[in-house]
């Protein structure tokens, strides 16, 4: 006998509202449909604004991947104006991007562990995340919503004392990340709960064109830092972290291993600050004209901005395609055939950011 259950807009396992209509037969889910739009703000219409002020608006699309949105928008607009970014500004932007990846992955691992009920380890992940937010406050002035990216460069500098504090932070963070990894990877109960649940096969991942750790957990090595390098990723090479199974355990392992990759990248970038000349942004009298697009690897996947200008201070059209927007249709085939108790948990391992999905 079939019953319809609303996994409604408000549920304790998610932070943001999204609606899933499930048709179940006993405990197994037979059919599902997805409905979204509860936080749709119409931001693409508001972006037809002064291009300097829109840099502050692009930060506020998502609060967890702030720096990536602002970097991608500034890169796209600088391409239409013909500006060239100074070397020190590019290094400062890359250090901020890797720090952002650290704090976002710690949050995602913590939420996954809370969804299976392990609250103590969720609190330990957030305790380590506070150290990263303190580093943000010392360098940029704010914990989230930093506001240092402008069209043409950055506004704050990193001096020699701050560079030494960053290297001490890297050693401290690596010790904490090793402790976390030991507790998660060598644990018997977490592995038994997560293995074999919500399997996405490699052919389905290639058909639906999913991005981010969801794709890399299913043996598809797609990482924008390796395929289309932006900023200075040609000097500091990145190899994608890939797992073969495609279930929830593989996706979480990809995120844990990327923590160590980010700490290693920061250690390679900080010594490059000394050799660069002390120029922070490029001035010019040009106005945005023509069209351009830019791509960046956000913690959740690939982020894409398309900008078109009309030779005045206001922009003509801005289109944002975020990473959860590409992964969203991938939830529905995975839920069909799963137990009802696993539905919320499978959605959380996708790391959904519904503020980015609806805009």
């Amino acid at each position: 006998m079939r019953t319809t259950i609303q996994f409604g807009p408000q549920h304790p396992v998610w932070i943001e509202p999204i609606r899933l209509k499930l048709t179940t037969d006993g405990e197994i889910v037979k059919d599902a449909s997805l409905e979204a739009g509860y936080v749709h703000k119409g931001l693409e219409k508001k972006f037809e604004w002064d291009y300097n002020k829109a840099a502050y608006l692009s930060e506020r699309v998502c609060a967890i991947c702030t720096q990536h949105h602002s970097t991608c928008y500034c890169t796209a607009v600088e391409g239409t104006m013909g500006l060239e970014l100074p070397r020190k500004a590019a290094i400062i932007r890359m250090i901020m991007l890797e720090l952002e990846r650290l704090h976002s992955h710690l949050l995602a691992i913590g939420l996954t562990l809370e969804a299976i009920g392990f609250e103590n380890l969720f609190m330990l992940c957030f305790r380590d995340r506070e150290v990263v937010l303190d580093v943000f406050e010392r360098t940029t002035g704010n914990r989230v919503l930093h506001g240092i990216n402008i069209v043409g460069g950055v506004t704050r500098n990193i001096g020699p004392e701050m560079a030494k504090e960053l290297m001490d932070f890297c050693d401290d963070m690596e010790k904490r990340a090793h402790d976390l990894e030991k507790m998660i990877v060598n644990s018997y109960t977490i592995k038994q709960r997560m293995q074999g649940v919500g399997v996405m096969s490699e052919s389905l991942a290639k058909d639906l064109c999913v991005v981010g750790p969801v794709a890399r957990g299913s043996n598809v090595p797609y990482d924008v830092r390796a395929i289309a390098p932006y900023l200075l990723y040609k000097e500091v090479k990145v190899t994608p972290v890939v797992e073969k199974d495609g279930d929830c355990w593989a996706r979480s392992l990809v995120r844990v291993r990327e923590l160590f990759q980010s700490i290693d990248l920061i250690r390679q970038l900080v010594p490059l600050l000394e050799g660069a000349p002390d120029e922070l942004f490029a001035k010019s009298k040009a106005l945005p004209d023509g069209e351009n697009f830019a791509r960046v690897e956000a913690p959740r996947g690939e982020l894409f901005y398309y900008v078109r200008g009309k030779k005045s201070k206001e922009l003509d059209r801005v289109k944002i395609r975020t990473s959860t927007y590409g992964n969203g249709p991938g939830i529905v085939p995975l839920i069909k055939g799963a137990h009802l108790a696993d539905v919320g948990f499978i959605t959380i391992t996708f790391d959904p950011c519904i503020g980015c999905f609806d805009r």
């Binding site: 002020k53 502050y56 608006l57 305790r127 406050e137 002035g141 704010n142 506001g147 506004t155």
Partner: protein, 139 residues
């Protein structure tokens, strides 16, 4: 099992990780961007900050020579601090406490070099200079 016992022993001896927030105030790091203050002795009433604010919370009244600043609407982004030509705007490290009404701050501008104040002083000086020879002529 051994790791749990070691953690229990360590936690029983050390002090708690959290701080008692409302009783001990939070110390921000130097360089934090918090409330915005205007300096009336340096402003020249050029309206550059009004044109560049993304949240539209600054209004300059030229006739009354005051700056109106809506504290609750400001997003503390720091764009006006960068743009001001005479460095009259600065950001300190103390945030406003939460309140139930919207806060507005008025600042009076007393800078001698502002074009409007200079023009008014020149006109007032010209009027007193014209007023004196006339009674002498009548007599």
């Amino acid at each position: 099992m051994l790791k749990i016992l070691e953690n229990i022993a360590k936690n029983a001896v050390s002090k708690p990780y959290t701080s008692r927030y409302p009783f001990t105030p939070y110390e921000h790091f130097p360089g934090t961007r918090a409330d915005v203050t205007f300096d009336g002795t340096k402003c020249i009433l050029c309206q550059l900050c009004q044109r560049s604010c993304p949240a539209e919370c600054i209004t300059i009244h030229k006739e009354e020579t005051t700056i109106e600043y809506l504290n609750t609407q400001c997003i503390r982004c720091g764009y006006c601090v960068r743009v001001c030509p005479t460095n009259a705007i600065s950001q300190n490290e103390v945030y406003t406490k939460p309140s139930r009404e919207r806060l507005t701050v008025y600042t009076l501008v007393t800078n001698e070099n502002a074009p409007i104040i200079k023009k008014r002083k020149a006109e007032a000086a010209k009027k007193t200079a014209e007023g004196k020879p006339e009674p002498a002529k009548k007599e």
